[in-house]
Amino acid sequence: MNNYFIEIGNKSIQKNGQEVCGDVFMSRKLQEEGRSVAVLSDGLGSGIKANVLATMTASMALNFTVENQPIERCAQSIRNTLPVDNDRKINYSTFTILDIEYDGETTILEYGNPQFLVFRNINPLELNDTRESSVSELEISHFKAQKEDRIILFSDGVSQSGMGRADMPFGWDWDDLKDFISHQIKNDPQISAKRLSDIIVNRAFLNDSLKAKDDITCSVIYFRDPRNLIICTGPPYKMDRDKSMVKTLSDFNGAKIICGGTTAQIVSRELDKEIEVDIFSGDGDLPPVSEIEGFDLVTEGILTLGRVSDWLENKNTSKIDYKGPAGKIIELFFKNDIINFLVGTRINEAHQDPALPVELEIRRNVVKKIAKILDEKYLKEVHIQYI
């Protein structure tokens, strides 16, 4: 049986002038049943009202689907529940429901949203196994996903972005949109779901000249092998464990990051490999990155990790500077699914001097915080090992 890792990425921008987005995306992993359910809903209008409609729709659709209730019943219940808009005297929200089994068997229900796309490698798939349901305007599609497939959902804010512009009078041309996505995947065949949804939404936002005419949302579901990353930070508590730390690192199959000068020294010494420091690669606030052959990234420790933690928690992911040391770590986090922390717990005495101009946190605490954010906010599988 082929089991895939399913990476889900989503990005929304609200209509210009609104406080919240009227598109809502929700997903849930049902580990025991081996399936994932996701819903994208676009509420009528924009702002709070739309957000309420979409949130109700998405959560009901999600729960009905999780409970394997027939879709007709679900649609009926949503219709009966949604509050009626005072101005327009109607209640309405569109939705797309995805029901994905971990062997790739996928069911997609669409009601009113722009047609979803499936990309196999760089080409959109033509799905002909689509049928109308007894509920009008509801379309049900089935297909068997293969490894490296991507399902892409949009709200109409994407397809209608740029509408009225001389060069795109009817919005983002459907074929141009497909070409745009093909091009992104061609450029970076392993592009993460999160990054791809960011790029598509940002482009739609640009089509609207940075003033979104409607809520813009794109969700990407990416089927692939899980990717592993190890991030090693800090020297081991006891020096005689240096060797085993380095062995764990070199035996590891996946991406590798070293955070910390002393840690890098240990690795360099044990593996007898040179450290090259690129002095101009810092970003002003953070010390520069270095290179050790066989490692994806070598950075300074506590300052960089502190920044990573801060950005992951507070910063809009599309505003992160992915060229700086902290951004490079975050990008590697996003590209991988299983994040392993290998944390040396020796305390650097020199960092405890109260006369320092900044407060240097204890490594263990920062790592714990990052791990919690990665787990809860970015749904990564996180393991921490202390040495």
Partner: protein, 84 residues
């Protein structure tokens, strides 16, 4: 261009050196006087733990393997000028 590099300045990029002023040091190249421009090369190095020796103060710089503590751009230039 043909002149030989006489001075190799290695700046510590460790945490402590960075917060104690080392962050400014990579700009050294821009501040070099004309007579030194082609003779000095600026590089980075990983923390060598000089900061854990209690009597030394960061930021640290190695100039041709000679250790300078509490380094600043002025101090480095002064040091090299004295060697000239």
């Amino acid at each position: 261009m043909t002149e030989e590099i006489k001075y190799k300045v290695k700046i510590c990029t460790g945490t402590l050196c960075h917060v104690m002023g080392g962050a400014e040091l990579p700009a050294l190249e821009d501040h070099l006087p004309e007579n030194l421009k082609s003779k000095v090369i600026v590089k980075g190095m990983v923390c060598e733990n000089y900061c854990n020796e209690t009597d030394l103060k960061p930021p640290f710089v190695l100039i041709n393997e000679e250790l300078m503590q509490e380094a600043s751009i002025e101090k480095i230039i002064q040091f090299i000028q004295n060697c000239e």
